[in-house]
Symmetry: C2
Subunit: 167 residues, 2 copies
């Protein structure tokens, strides 16, 4: 009976691309956050750290906000936290005294390395029941859908100003 209900349920939206991707993506994000937590990092801090580390020139807070689609107001507390943990330093920009240059520390880069390792391990879990070529297919198809949706590589929609709900 529960099984019958589920069957009917599926037939409506449960197997739509939109729902399936949302379901899998939400669970992935939960798992990522859970596995990141023991490192004392949350996903937003990870995004900022990664953005700083992979930029060639030093970034201002406003630049980070722009890159990740966030409002600069919401970057302040994030940098506060990263600075308190000793992973990022604020340095006054000598060229523009209003702004701070954000510098990831050695400890911050080590943290980032460990966080990236967690992403890789999580991918192993997601791919557990797929062959190698299926993994490549899925990655390729998802990347094409991401492009179709206008998503920039590495920029998560939840980082941006968002409407008040989703699920």
């Amino acid at each position: 009976m529960t099984r019958d209900r589920r069957t009917a349920y599926e037939s409506r939206y449960g197997l739509s691309l939109a729902f399936l991707s949302s379901q899998v993506g939400a669970r992935s994000a939960q798992l990522f956050a859970e596995r990141l937590a023991p490192l004392d990092v949350n996903p937003r801090e990870f995004a900022v750290l990664s953005n700083l580390a992979s930029s060639e020139e030093p970034l201002h807070q406003q630049a980070v906000a722009d890159a990740l689609g966030m409002h600069r107001n919401n970057v302040v507390a994030l940098i506060d936290a990263l600075e308190a943990k000793g992973w990022v330093r604020r340095e006054r920009d000598s060229a523009d005294r209003r702004a701070y240059v954000l510098v990831p520390t050695r400890a911050g880069l080590r943290k980032l390395g460990r966080a990236n390792a967690i992403v890789e391990k999580l991918d192993v879990v997601l791919a557990a029941s797929l062959t190698t070529s299926e993994v490549d297919q899925l990655r390729d198809l998802l990347a094409r859908v991401a492009g179709e949706l206008g998503l920039a590589p590495g920029v998560h929609p939840h980082l941006a100003a968002r409407p008040r709900h989703s699920p």
Copy 2:
């Protein structure tokens, strides 16, 4: 330079299955919520309506909470809203006077039909750059990953009690 940064960014996590699925899924959920809003429905109300409509026997609030992985406290306001809009009726269960039986109204079922049509239209958008067989592949692969993650068909992780964050 922006392009260079992105390349470096991607190489770290931007093309992981975990991040790609989370990114695509989050955007799908946003789009779904946006397209649903003009119907005066939110995604949680949609989930409840759909669950009620596809159940063979009438459900109690607690049963809806169980089916969707929600806490019963959080179902109350949802049913309040659905009842206020005339899409669901509460009827005292004659067999158990503590409980309500939830009955979707004809107007509620019409709303649900329109919401389901929105899911279908959204799928067309997601699939815009894929061939028919690629759509089937993607659906199949996502469903298998969903199974691997222990996700029940039609039950969105965000409906459940959740840790305080995800992106």
